[in-house]
Each structure stands twice: as structure tokens, then as C-alpha cells.
């Protein structure tokens, strides 16, 4: 311990939301497992694109009817994003919150004046940025992959040029439903992290969230088949996972891969209503995360 720093107490650092966000980005950026997992999602995308290049429907339709080929290709691409990016975001956002309690760093951060709500919001924002980055990179690589596939199968990019407007609209809606997954997974991760204040507990519960609420949808379906209580149908419409499963199909009108295999709500909501359910979950989870952070003693 050598040269003394200069005079004390004269600086007035100000923890703000922007500063907190900057710090969260550094924490996220330097966490290697998150990026390994994200890389793995891109590897999966590569595999899906390869499988699509072997698909008979796509091989026959793409040169002449690009829309039909797109309908065939999109659900699988979307499903891989929802599941893969979902796992990345659930684990990284719950980890971002739980880590502070597990390491005890929460007392350093809060003990210097960053407020509890600033911290929760900064973590949410950082995780949303990660989700957006994943979505942009994934969408870009998908676009590149599908273009190469087109050139490979049709000899030129001509089919893309003649794709009808509905095709472009479907692509946009596919991105929208992926964004709904991003927002949902981030909110679940942050909410569960804030409630459990634990690293492993938070990560495990976040990962289990969607399996559990999909299972609940199946239970509700079985219960409805027996008792025919309308309330069971209504409750099923409020479940987050099943809503997300159906969302791609609802928005684009295609047969979504996830909606075909995974449970969906028993009530058929419109795409807009389904987005409303997603927004509702987001707000409820955020309010819960803020509330549980606000008053509880920090004993980590």
C-alpha cells in the first residue's frame, strides 16, 4: 500500500439508472457461459437451416412459390429461437439478479446509494438488451441462411424478389412473436431471481417456469374435459407459456411448430389479445420484482 490518494470526500458520485445499466452490461458481457450458450443457439440455427435445405416441400416449392416455402421454414426457425434464446435469457437474467445475493455484492451496490428499483430496472434493461442482440443476430443469420438456400435451390435470388407482401408481413410478425418471447423470458428471470434471491435456486426455477405452466395447461385441459367448468378455460387463456406457444401461429396465420406440439390455451384469443396477456405478465412480474426488492432486509 504505497502512494496515498489525494484529498477525501470531495467527489460526489451519483448512482443513476444509466450508471447502473452500464455496470450491469459489464457484468453480463464478462460472463462467458452466457455467450457459450448463445453460440450454441446459433449452432442449432445452422442445423435447422441445413435440415430445411433437405426438406422436400421447400426444395420443390421455393423456386416457384416462395411463400409456401417460407411457411414451411419459419415455424422451425422460430421454435429454435423461442426455446434456445429462452434458455439463455431465463438463466442469464435470473443469474444477474441472484448473483448479487449469492456473492453478497448486493450490499456493496446498495450500500453506496444505487436504489433498489434502479438496480432491478437496470438488470431488466441489460437482459432485454441481451435479448435484442440475440434476436437481431439470429434474424440476420436466418436471413443470410435463407438467402443462400434460395440461391442454392433456385440458382438466383429471384424468388425473394417475387415474394408477395404477405410473406414480408409474416416475417415481421415472426420477429414480433420472437420479441414477445424475449420480453417474457427476461421478466420471468428477473422476477424469479428477485423473489428467490438465490443463484442456483433462481436459475432452476426460471428454467422450470415454462415446463410448469405448460403442464398446468395440460392439467386444466384434463380438468375441463371432466368438469366442463368455464373458469378452467378462462384460466388457461392467462397462462404465459401456452400463450407464447400459440402466438406465432396466431400472428402469422401459419401452423406454428410450437403450437402443434406444445399446449395452447383452450380459449382462442386474437393475436392482439395474446400480446396483451404477454404484456400483463411482464408488468406483473416487474411489479413483483420491484416490490420484493423494495423493503426486504439485505442480509446477504
Amino acid at each position: 500500500m504505497s502512494s496515498p490518494p489525494a484529498a477525501g470526500g470531495e467527489e460526489s458520485p451519483t448512482p443513476t439508472f444509466a450508471n447502473a445499466l452500464r455496470a450491469e452490461i459489464i457484468k453480463l458481457r464478462s460472463h462467458r457461459p452466457t455467450w457459450v450458450l448463445a453460440g450454441f443457439v446459433l449452432v442449432l440455427l445452422g442445423l435447422v437451416l441445413f435440415a430445411l435445405s433437405q426438406d422436400v416441400v421447400i426444395r420443390s416449392e421455393l423456386p416457384s412459390r416462395p411463400l409456401a416455402a417460407l411457411d414451411q421454414a419459419l415455424p422451425a426457425v422460430q421454435f429454435v429461437f423461442a426455446a434456445g434464446a429462452g434458455v439463455v435469457l431465463l438463466t442469464s437474467s435470473s443469474r444477474l439478479v441472484g448473483m448479487e445475493y449469492a456473492l453478497g455484492t448486493i450490499r456493496v451496490v446498495l450500500g453506496r446509494g444505487t436504489t433498489r428499483s434502479q438496480l432491478v430496472l437496470a438488470k431488466l434493461a441489460a437482459a432485454l438488451l441481451l435479448g435484442s442482440l440475440l434476436l437481431v443476430v439470429y434474424a440476420f443469420l436466418t436471413a443470410v441462411g435463407l438467402t443462400l438456400l434460395t440461391v442454392h435451390l433456385a440458382g438466383s435470388t429471384a424468388p425473394i424478389g417475387v415474394m408477395p407482401a404477405t410473406g414480408w408481413r409474416q416475417l415481421g410478425l415472426a420477429v414480433l412473436s420472437c420479441a414477445a418471447s424475449v420480453v417474457s423470458c427476461t421478466a420471468v428471470g428477473v422476477g424469479v431471481g428477485a423473489a428467490t434471491r438465490s443463484l442456483t435456486g433462481g436459475m432452476v426455477l426460471s428454467i422450470l417456469f415454462f415446463p410448469l405452466d405448460n403442464a398446468l395447461a395440460l392439467v386444466l385441459r384434463a380438468a375441463y374435459a371432466r368438469d366442463h367448468l368455464d373458469v378452467l378455460r378462462s384460466v388457461s387463456a392467462l397462462l404465459l407459456g401456452p400463450t407464447l406457444n400459440r402466438l406465432p401461429g396466431l400472428l402469422t396465420g401459419q401452423a406454428a411448430a410450437s403450437g402443434a406440439v406444445l399446449p395452447t390455451p383452450m380459449v382462442r384469443l386474437t393475436g392482439g389479445e395474446s400480446l396483451g396477456v404477454v404484456a400483463g405478465w411482464f408488468l406483473v412480474l416487474l411489479a413483483m420484482a420491484l416490490a420484493v426488492s423494495a423493503r426486504r432486509d439485505v442480509l446477504a
Binding site: G8, I26, G104, R107, V108, G111, R112
Partner: protein, 304 residues
């Protein structure tokens, strides 16, 4: 409450369920003081420090830090506080420097040059790029101190900062605390290393089962019991008489035939008068400075 104080606790209390951790604590730490906060394990030191930092809500009482109320004014006050609570809390997957970088980002306004400067200050320059998960306990403690000093706080709240440090590290901390005091920084320090506390603290408080058992200087704590060492020709006779006195019951034969005894009033002259009145003339009479450990144990042990 005077705004001149760095920390003011009034009737502060904290209960965890049915267990009382801190009770009715009144304490003032002046600006620029190095203040020692002592007490046995579980006395409530860490809990008090957590309340000062706004991490734990008091169940009773009021507290002000650097002139602001906690938790109401936390956002204005806490950025001027440097905390090190219990074991240093660090991001294990980041390097030492990156830990400082993250926290500098959190606060804003820390010049980048400060980080290598601090790593140098705490003797971690050559390990600055290593992940903290590979640091030893003492190295983490050193980094924790750097974290506390990062934004040149006006008040340092240090919970057992010497924990895990080697002798050189302990000496460095002592130098660092003095340096901080010279710069006008207030230091609120808990420690079990009484020798260190004695060397650096202007005043101390001793907690016992959540309650204040003593506040004042180390000097007056050591002198406060009013013990004297008396040279007497007929020590054996004198001891018999002394033990019969209400104030002398614990008199005993000390080193080299001298008698150790308390004064009836705490003052040497009154002991001398009492002895002379009983026909025992003292050859010599000196005040005994107890060591801090003995005084500490006397205050904190036993029923309460």
C-alpha cells in the same frame, strides 16, 4: 441532531423475529474521527453497520449519516460512504481491476486512472488482471478495501477490515486508516483485534448483546476501574483489613509483594487516606493501567 456528526444513532433497535440483535443504541461518531466499534461475536456490530448502510431497516429508533436520514436520504448520502461489510463481496468471475471497473461504472465520475492507483495502494498491482476467484482470502480483503476507497468516500464503514490479513497487511491497514484520517475521512471500524483498535482509534464503543456497554476513549476505559498497586511494609495485615472493606474485597497480592486494590472513590489520594486512617502507611502507590483486553472482557462477559 447536530449536522457535525458523521453518524448519529438514536434509540436504534433491530429485531429478527424474536431475537433482538440491537437494542436502544445511542451513538454519535464525529466527523473526522476514527471510531472503533467493538463487542463479542453476535453483539450486533454487523447488524448496526448494515442499518447505517440502509441494507437493514431498523425496528426502532432513528439514524442519520453524514447529515441525512437513513433510509429516506440514502440516495444522497450513501454515495459518499465506502462500505466493507463482513467478508468482502466481489464478482468472482471478474478480475480485480474489473471489479473496480464495474463499481466505478455503478457510481459514475470515478476517473479511470484511479483504478490502477488503488490496486497499487492495496498491493495487488501484479495480480490486478487475475480472476478474483483465484485470490486468497487476504487478497480479497485487500480488494474489498480498494472497493471501499474507490470513490474517495467521506465516511468509511469497515467491518473487520483486518480479517485474513497477514501482519504486513495489518500494518498497512493501520497506515491507511491514519492516512484516511489525515485526509479528513471519518472511519467507523469494527474489529476484534484490540491492539489495532488501540493504536488507531480516537474513541471506541463497546456493544454487549446489542446494547451499548461503553463509549469513550481507550485511555479512559483502561483507567476507568481505578486500580492501584500499593507498596506496604505489612502487606499481609493490610490485605486482611482491605478485604473487609466494601470497596476492597477483591484486593490481592500482586507482583513483587505489592498489593493490587481498587480505590474507594477511584482516586489514588482517597485510597491513600483510607489506608493511613487504618494505620497502614503506603511506601508507594501507582495507578495500574489495565490492558485493553482485560477491560474489554470485564465489560462484555458475565450476566447482562
Amino acid at each position: 441532531m447536530s449536522s457535525n456528526a458523521a453518524i448519529e444513532l438514536q434509540g436504534l433497535g433491530k429485531r429478527f423475529g424474536r431475537r433482538t440483535a440491537v437494542e436502544d443504541l445511542d451513538l454519535t461518531v464525529g466527523r473526522g474521527e476514527v471510531f472503533g466499534f467493538l463487542g463479542p461475536n453476535g453483539a450486533g456490530k454487523t447488524t448496526t453497520m448494515r442499518m447505517v448502510l440502509g441494507l437493514v431497516r431498523p425496528s426502532a429508533g432513528r439514524l442519520r449519516v453524514l447529515g441525512g436520514a437513513i433510509p429516506e436520504d440514502s440516495a444522497e448520502v450513501l454515495p459518499r460512504v465506502g462500505p466493507l461489510v463482513e467478508t468482502p463481496a466481489l464478482y468472482l468471475h471478474l478480475s480485480g481491476s474489473d471489479n473496480l471497473r464495474v463499481l466505478a461504472a455503478e457510481l459514475g465520475g470515478v476517473p479511470p486512472g484511479r483504478i490502477p492507483e488503488l490496486m497499487e495502494l492495496v498491493g495487488l498491482s501484479d495480480r490486478a488482471g487475475d480472476r478474483v476467484s483465484r485470490y486468497s482470502l487476504g487478497m480479497r480483503q485487500r480488494l474489498g478495501l480498494a472497493v471501499a476507497l474507490l470513490h474517495r468516500p467521506a465516511l468509511l464503514v469497515l467491518d473487520e477490515p483486518a480479517n485474513g490479513l497477514d501482519p504486513a497487511g495489518i500494518r498497512e491497514i493501520r497506515a491507511l486508516l491514519r492516512q484516511q484520517r489525515d485526509r479528513g475521512t471519518t472511519v467507523f471500524l469494527s474489529s476484534h483485534v484490540l491492539g489495532e483498535v488501540e493504536r488507531v482509534c480516537d474513541r471506541i464503543a463497546i456493544l454487549r448483546r446489542g446494547r451499548l456497554a461503553y463509549t469513550g476513549t481507550v485511555e479512559s476505559l483502561r483507567g476507568s476501574a481505578g486500580w492501584f498497586r500499593v507498596g506496604l511494609d505489612d502487606a499481609d495485615q493490610a490485605l486482611i483489613w482491605l478485604r473487609d472493606q466494601p470497596w476492597g474485597s477483591d484486593a490481592h497480592l500482586g507482583e513483587s509483594g505489592l498489593v493490587d486494590v481498587r480505590s474507594p472513590t477511584g482516586r489514588g489520594r482517597d485510597l491513600n487516606l483510607a489506608l493511613a486512617g487504618a494505620g497502614f502507611v503506603a511506601d508507594s502507590l501507582t495507578a495500574v493501567q489495565r490492558d485493553l483486553e482485560a477491560a474489554f472482557l470485564e465489560l462484555t462477559e458475565g450476566e447482562g
